[in-house]
Amino acid sequence: MTTALQLSGVSKGFSGVQALSDVSIECQAGEVLALMGENGAGKSTLLKVLSGDHQPDTGRIVVGGTPRVFRTPAEAHKAGVRVIYQEPEIIPHVSVAENVYVGALPHRFHWFDRKGLIKRFRADLERFGFSGMLDAEMLGNQLSAAHRQLVEILRALVGEVKIIAFDEPTSSLSGEETDVLFALIERLRQSGVAIIYVSHRMQEIMRIADRVAVLRDGKYVGDRKVREKPGAPATLSEDDVVRMMVGRDLSAMYVRETHEPGHIVLSLDKITNEDVHGVSFDVRAGEIVGLAGLVGAGRTELAQAIFGDTPIQSGRILWDGEGEGKLRELHLRSPRDAIRAGIGLAPEERKTQALLMRRSVRDNTSLAVLEHLRRFRFIRGDEERDLVRKFVSKLRVRTPSLEREVRTLSGGNQQKVVLARWLARRPKLLILDEPTRGVDVGVKAEIYAIIAELAREGIAVLVISSDLPEVIGLSDRIVVMHCGHVTGQLTRAEATEERIMALAMAGYLQQAPEKASKTEQMMEGAQ
């Protein structure tokens, strides 16, 4: 194997933050190097230095033996270096095909060849194994998070690739697309491409990585071989990696003692709209309900309907926030109504749906609780700061100050700010849509503990997650959806990854039909 990439002594500081200090990393051709580290450790920054997006303060980049200075992403692109960013950048009113080939559109004398583009797009889709997963003509602003991620990945594959880096590519992908991606990575590896893979998901690392390099606080901690040779089983233990990352042993991921759930807080009665069809289930006080399913199963749509953000066409949302023993129908015209009633929703897309990127951590965290922090409409600054500080340290948001613009935080820390906002609000029902997207293991455990604590305090929690171990480890009960229908419910004892997948793939006819109906009967009895 030859050394495809060598980063030596790379340092990068932003005003007030040393994101990288003296990091040296190598990656061989045909190697998958996993890059790990806590949120804010400097992984994305390192990749941005590699892509020419950031200029390092010190350090050298050597590609295939020749030292290179990339002043722009275009230069890195030309040299065969590709970085797939954590946040996909999509052009809204332009087709998927153009989005993928942006900057490299086929043309003759500037005459743009639309037909050729579509043909080439279809061929490439096929070649990379994504055929049928993307519609060439769809516009950028119509794409779901998963589609956007696919576009971003495809974009990086255009042209000759020598080094490719993925920054948490699977955080918005489902199992199926993830499988295709891994197959693709394997093929790239075999064809001698050097691959850097950033993720917080340990199983993924164990599945595809050959070696793990760890960053902590912007410093290089060290590396470990995951397996002896490509294709061999992993020999490294997860705990070793975690210890390198966090600098200590982690306590158990899921600490969840079972206890009696309380009264029914939310009861859905045949909720139907364009994306969800006749969904009925209950959520009780102190209960954590997981909502599982594949991408596009309609979980997000359901959450938005419960939150009053999309209208429901038929069905009822029944609500008993205070535990008065009487379910009342909620008529929600806006999220505002839902919040007033006691529902909170941390949406799945932090950048577009949750954060005010150019406002401070403080403003972002306190946004939903301002009405509790004001006197005669004046915000009580001290109280606000105390509250924000409390949740910022509880969630370990890495920020030099509360006044820092959220846009300068690392991805995982941005996610924590979203969670902090809703924890500060303390709703009666908290809906979390992919709450741990991009969050590192240490903080994940922390978040699980916080969710468990909320439940203990009697808050009903509905967790939407594509991370099956997370759903299983966290939930008291799991509702599985497929194509807008609930295909089954599983108690914690019943839940296994296989069973959930079976239900998620619409197998409810073959799989445990009696169970699904039993729970439904139970629920009907409860009303």
Binding site: A74, I91, P92, V102, L105, H110, F112, G296
Partner: protein, 339 residues
């Protein structure tokens, strides 16, 4: 999943005929056409003279100058910027054209000088924005004042020269080819060229990309700066053509009169034609329809002899109503700011 996507593609190819027609025309254009039809009907019923061919041509020539600027403004808006100095550049180039013509007696020298100045002004705009890092609105507001001042300085604030005796300028102002006035030809040709640029060249597609998401464009290696400077240079050049037309129409170089306020009119047309002022969205034909709608409105009210004060009220109200209808059809939810 795989299936459903394939299905979607399949379904799309089997759109019903009216649906296909609608898609080709575009919802935006359809609304504008409907609004246009409504306005035309209302005015025509009151005064059938409105439909006379000569009046139709009068409308066409009246919108020619504003139409040129609106078309090029569309390009700039799609790129995510705004050129507020177009009117000012038109006045400046109009004066230069007339003065050079008067000094040399050559119409082509006048046109070349205007184009040169226009291009130069556009490059100044682009350079100020890109290399001075000045927000496009402020930069072109600043040059709006600067170019106007320069036009006033070179002309002493007075209209310059007389071009009414030159064949070329007379042909521009009043000639026609195939019974269509030259002015309209100029507008149609330049608008068509810009349309082709936007839709059928990689340059145009890159303009949409830069306006839609500049980070994506930059990461994809598009030389954004070149595009910005280029778009402003284009804007300057087209403004120069508008300036030449202005000189031809008024028979003299006009430093301010006839071009003041064109910036707002061109932006109005672009926005009414469905451009997203944040960039990345828009099309020349819609902008042209919008400018035509504005021209018809203003002509119709003059024809009907509406009191100028009422004209203001009516123009505002009709503008709002046209957009409201347009929007209601899209069935968007009424939350927040519409784009």
């Amino acid at each position: 999943m795989t299936q459903s996507a394939a299905e979607a593609i399949h379904v799309q190819d089997e759109r019903s005929l009216p649906r296909r027609v609608l898609d080709a025309v575009g919802a935006q254009n359809l609304s504008l056409l409907m609004a246009l039809a409504a306005v035309v009907t209302i005015i025509g019923v009151q005064d059938p003279n409105f439909f006379s061919p000569s009046n139709m041509l009068a409308i066409g020539t009246a919108v020619a100058i504003a139409g040129l600027l609106a078309a090029v403004q569309t390009v700039v808006v799609i790129l995510g910027a705004l050129d507020i100095s177009v009117g000012s550049m038109t006045g400046f180039t109009s004066v230069i054209c007339a003065m050079v013509f008067t000094a040399t007696g050559s119409a082509s020298l006048g046109v070349v000088a205007a184009l040169g100045i226009g291009l130069f002004c556009g490059l100044i705009n682009g350079a100020t924005i890109v290399y001075g890092r000045v927000n496009p609105v402020i930069a072109t507001l600043a040059t709006l004042a600067t170019f106007k001042g320069l036009a006033q300085l070179v002309s002493g604030g007075r209209a310059q020269g007389y071009t009414g005796g030159d064949d070329f300028f007379i042909f521009l102002a009043r000639g026609s080819i195939a019974a269509i006035p030259t002015l309209i030809w100029v507008l149609v040709l330049i608008a068509a060229a810009l349309h082709v640029l936007l839709k059928y060249t990689d340059i145009g597609r890159n303009i949409y990309a830069v306006g839609g998401n500049d980070v994506a464009a930059r990461l994809a290696g598009i030389a954004i700066n070149k595009y910005v400077v280029g778009a402003y240079a284009l804007s300057g050049a087209v403004a120069a053509i508008a300036g030449v037309l202005l000189t031809a129409r008024t028979g003299s170089g006009q430093p301010v009169s006839g071009s003041e306020g064109l910036e707002l009119e061109s932006i109005t047309a672009a926005a009414l034609g469905g451009c997203d002022l944040r960039g990345g969205k828009g099309a020349i034909p819609s902008t042209l329809l919008a400018i035509l709608l504005l021209g018809v409105l203003s002509n119709g009210m003059t024809v009907l002899g509406v009191n100028p004060f009422w004209q203001n009220v009516a123009k505002g109200a009709l503008l709002a109503i046209a957009v409201i209808i347009q929007q209601k059809r899209s069935g968007e939810r009424a939350v927040g700011l519409p784009r």
